[in-house]
Each structure stands twice: as C-alpha cells, then as structure tokens.
Amino acid sequence: MTTNPFDSDSSAGIRSAKMDDATWFDEFTIELRLLAVPGSDIGDALASAREFLADAGTSAQECFGSPRSYAAELRLSTIPQPAVNGVGLRAGLGLLGLIGFMVSALPLVQGAAVRVDLPTISLFVVVIVGAVLMPTFLRSLARVRPRAWMFVVAAVLGIALPLGLNVWTDFATVLFTVSALPIVIASALLVLVSAIWSQARHSLRDDPIVAPGGAPDARTSLSTRLFLGAITWSMVILSIVIWLFALFGEPLGR
C-alpha cells in the first residue's frame, strides 16, 4: 500500500501488529458507546469498517488508525445525555445504603445505638465523592484492558480497606450516637430504590447495536442477563450477606 498524501496518521501502520482486528472492533465499539452514539449508528459504522477491510485486506489498525481517534473523527450523532449521570447516582445511592447497613445492622440486632465517628463520616464522604466522579472513572475504566495484577490489587484493597477502617474505628473517638432503626430503614430504601431503578432502566432504555438491515435480538443471551442481574442486584445481595453476619455472625464466632 502506498503512502496516502492526505493521511496525517501515517504512524498507524507501525502499531498495526500490536492489535488484532477483533480487539480493534471491541475497542471501537466501546469508544462509540462512550461517545453516546445510538446503537443503530454503531452497527452501521462497524459494518462499514468490516466492508472496507474485506476489500482492502489490511488490518483494522492500519486502515483506520486507533479506535479512539477514528470514533471521534467520524463525528456521528449522539444521544443527548442527562445533566445528572444516572449510573453514578444509582451506584452512589446503593453504596450509601450498603454502608448504612454495615454501620447499623449489628447495633439494631444488639439493641444498641449507632456510634458515629470520624472513620464512618470519612467513609460516607468518600462514597459520595466517588459517586460524583463515577462518570469520569467509568470512562477510564472502560478503556482499560483487564490484567491479572489488577484483580490482585482489587482483592488486596477489598480486604485491606475494611480491615484498616475497622482498626481505625476501634481507636476513633465517638462523635455522637444515632438510633439504628432510622438508618436501617433509610438504607433499605436506598438499596432497593437503586436496584429497582437500575432494573427498570435496563429493561426500558436498552439501545442494542443493530447491523444494517437487521433487527435487534429479541432476547439477550442468558449469560448477559445473568451478568446484568448480578450487577443490578449486587447491593441487595451484599446487604443480605451483611444481615446474615449481623444475625448469625456473633454466635458463629463464639
């Protein structure tokens, strides 16, 4: 293939060997999703790229450059996004409810008040800030290729953070106490509203990728439905685990 005098991205060919076409199309799809391009237009863009590649006989990376820059250069129409990011809001509400259960379930079972200290307040602040930053975080996370060390780091953090918080709480001064029942009720509402809202959104606002001239699959695959269900109801499931520990954890510990 000769050099295209109009193409400024002539370095694309150098990177071509590093990415196979399947990966390129996966990343291209993610980039178009991140740009909020409608599913039908994504299907059109994917089919156009495949059509051109079938004739050109080169790799997708060489032919179109990086998935991110190509998706941006296409400048396809986008779905207007709401001012408030629903994903971040729902995740934040569910997480607040979960933490609410973490601090109030055991005191309620034991008939005690919830002791509010600096670690507890810090945790709530971190969750709220995390929910606000969620859209930016998700965009970055979507572009990350999973690596084994990431799962190891996540597992270590998942164990170390609660343990560290627990140790900190043991030494922290109690600032004030609150009755456990209102926190339990508020937490239950937050967890349920978050899950039901997410479930309704999955059912009502799906925007499947439709190939040109094709119809969207009437039914998503079982594995996809199970995965979405697990994500949607994960806060409820974790809340049940917390309650099981609160109700039966102490007798088991003896």
Partner: protein
C-alpha cells in the same frame, strides 16, 4: 489538502452510486495515493450529515453487504460550487506562480 480530497471524493460519486473501497480505488487510480478508511469514512459521514450524499446498504454475494453512496440534489449543487471555487483558486495560484509577486 483535506479540502482537495473532499472535492475529489464528491467527484468520485458523480457517475453514480458507489461504495467506500471503490471510491478509494478510484482516487488511488487518479494518482491521489492510497486513501485509508480512517480518512475516507469521516468525510463520507460528514457529507451524509450535510445531506450531500445518501447511503443505502445492499446485500453482498456471500460476503458482507456494501453501503452504496450516491449524490443527492444538494450534493450535486455542492460539487458544482466546489469545482467552480477550486478552478478559480487554481487559476489564481497558477497565475501567481507564473507571474510572481506584483510590485507596488
């Protein structure tokens, strides 16, 4: 140079409906070099959004379907306008190159 490519792509569509790789091949045969998909499709998408061209998917024989593009009436007018502008521009540049700067 991008403007010239834009004009050449519109011109390649003038004979009738055609598809992405055929447009790239036409331009390469005309001496404009190999046009990559990453250069061509953003232009076609922009033309489609402007209403200058219309896209239609046609089923392929055994392989993937092809998206055929054709000039709309607006596209024909745009091509005529751009050709006129380009000719005026090229004459101006040519004259300048021949005569050099005008002395005051």
């Amino acid at each position: 140079m991008r403007a010239a490519l834009s004009l050449c792509v519109l011109r390649a569509l003038a004979p009738g409906p055609t598809y992405g790789y055929a447009i790239a091949s036409t331009l390469e045969a005309a001496g404009l070099g190999a046009i990559k998909g990453g250069t061509l499709y953003p232009l076609l998408t922009r033309f489609e959004a402007a209403g200058w061209i219309a896209g239609e998917w046609r089923p392929g024989a055994g392989g993937p379907g092809r998206k055929y593009f054709s000039l709309t009436d607006d596209g024909q007018r745009e091509l005529a306008d751009q050709v006129a502008h380009w000719q005026l521009f090229s004459i101006t540049v040519h004259d300048h190159l021949q005569k050099g700067p005008v002395e005051s």
